[in-house]
Symmetry: C2
Subunit: 257 residues, 2 copies
Amino acid sequence: MKENSQERLLRLLSLFADEEKGEWSVDEASVHLGISASQTYRYFRTLASAGYISAYTTGRYVLGPAIIELDRKLRIGDPMIHAARSIMREMLSTAPSASIAILCRYFRGQVMCVHEEFETYQHHEISYERGQPRPLYQGAASKVILANLPLRQARAYFNHAPDKFNQFGLGANWTEVKRSLRELRSQPAIITAGELGTSASGISAPIYDDKRVLGSVSLVLPITVATEEVTSFLMPVVAAAGQEMTRKMQHLAQLQQ
Amino acid sequence: MKENSQERLLRLLSLFADEEKGEWSVDEASVHLGISASQTYRYFRTLASAGYISAYTTGRYVLGPAIIELDRKLRIGDPMIHAARSIMREMLSTAPSASIAILCRYFRGQVMCVHEEFETYQHHEISYERGQPRPLYQGAASKVILANLPLRQARAYFNHAPDKFNQFGLGANWTEVKRSLRELRSQPAIITAGELGTSASGISAPIYDDKRVLGSVSLVLPITVATEEVTSFLMPVVAAAGQEMTRKMQHLAQLQQ
DNA sequence: GCAAAATTATCACAATACGAAAAAAATTGT
DNA sequence: ACAATTTTTTTCGTATTGTGATAATTTTGC
């Protein structure tokens, strides 16, 4: 827990991401971070003059335009998203209309959607939303990552929320969980229904780097069209997309560019 | 140009936004920033372990998932975007189909789109793209901000790129520019055609905070439908949207919430 | 397996980040 | 318009730590 001044600055910035709170005053942040008011003012000034936060009215700060600028650069330049785009589009073309394809990443012990592809835009209520961290035990895109994590890590997550693991059908104790993770891993792609909200069904396959799992590609379909027939057709499609992504990621690493 | 260590850290992060380059090695960043290699390693480690950058292969760093997380929070929580959403949608409903509504902000001496509303998604080629800074002299959404800036600032920008100002019809010298800015300011909304690419036309109105201009709301239409008749109908619509936004921003400031 | 590159650790010192308190500036109430 | 708050910046002395150079270690490419 030794922290230097740069880490403190970033921790202040992450206040705007972590908490449900979208705006912070200097005083609030000061007590929350355990930093003196004068120093917190210095941090706020630094972040504000770089555009990462912005005072939309006196004393109240929110995230600033520099975030948008960075996000655009990421959208355009991220190698994983770039590699995924065509694969996801092709996968989507074989799926029923109103389906969407999502690319997720393992991040900070959670799962975060980093890219979406869809034919026609429609607000999907409760699902993987770009940029929203989701737990590892809920939904296909998460579970497939969990199942491919080293057992040590999986166990640590299980110990942290055993009730949740049970609630989402992964087992009531570690022995059961271990068995169901092995079972999930043995399938080419994994399918869930109604685990985030009740209206969607997910089909997901893992993406590997070299040794460890990086994330997952998934199809999310309206639960009404996710019949046994449809999902059994799509399972190998999604599995192939995952394998193709894995291949591309390894190829990328070799290009060293 | 006195810079502390936090500012240096943010400057390193902004390398990933400023330059055309989307990926950096430690050495490249080290020479570019004029910081020793060992210290640059420390900065990279700090940013990486907070998720702002990520090594997608050994030695090559790109922006990390934390950016996406912050961007989502901004999209959801930003007071200006929140205030704009309904106004933009209503404005859009009176416009020809295939039009889009954009919300721009004055940022770092440039103009950046921070939010878009559209009926049906279609990739608009060259226009205001969310997160891409644009110069003040090009396009309606920019010009309306420029025209409402304090003259001192406008003059400074003119001196910085007089040829560009002339190219986009603002005048060949400061006297002419000053006159055309006044002329632009006198209109309820300003209209341009084909200034970004050749296929779009823009109608924009300014948004004020209390005294200074914050940004602009605009309609972007396919140039083919932007007839005199259509634009003269839409001009007061956009102007009203700008005024409504101004009202909401001032109301927001008074709520102090 | 070995050479090369990437990353981390060590160290000594100057630079600066820090909190407390005071000063200045901006904002609000009346 | 003026006073009362609140917000923000400055000052200052000191202990902390950020820093570059170099070495040690780990990882990677072949």
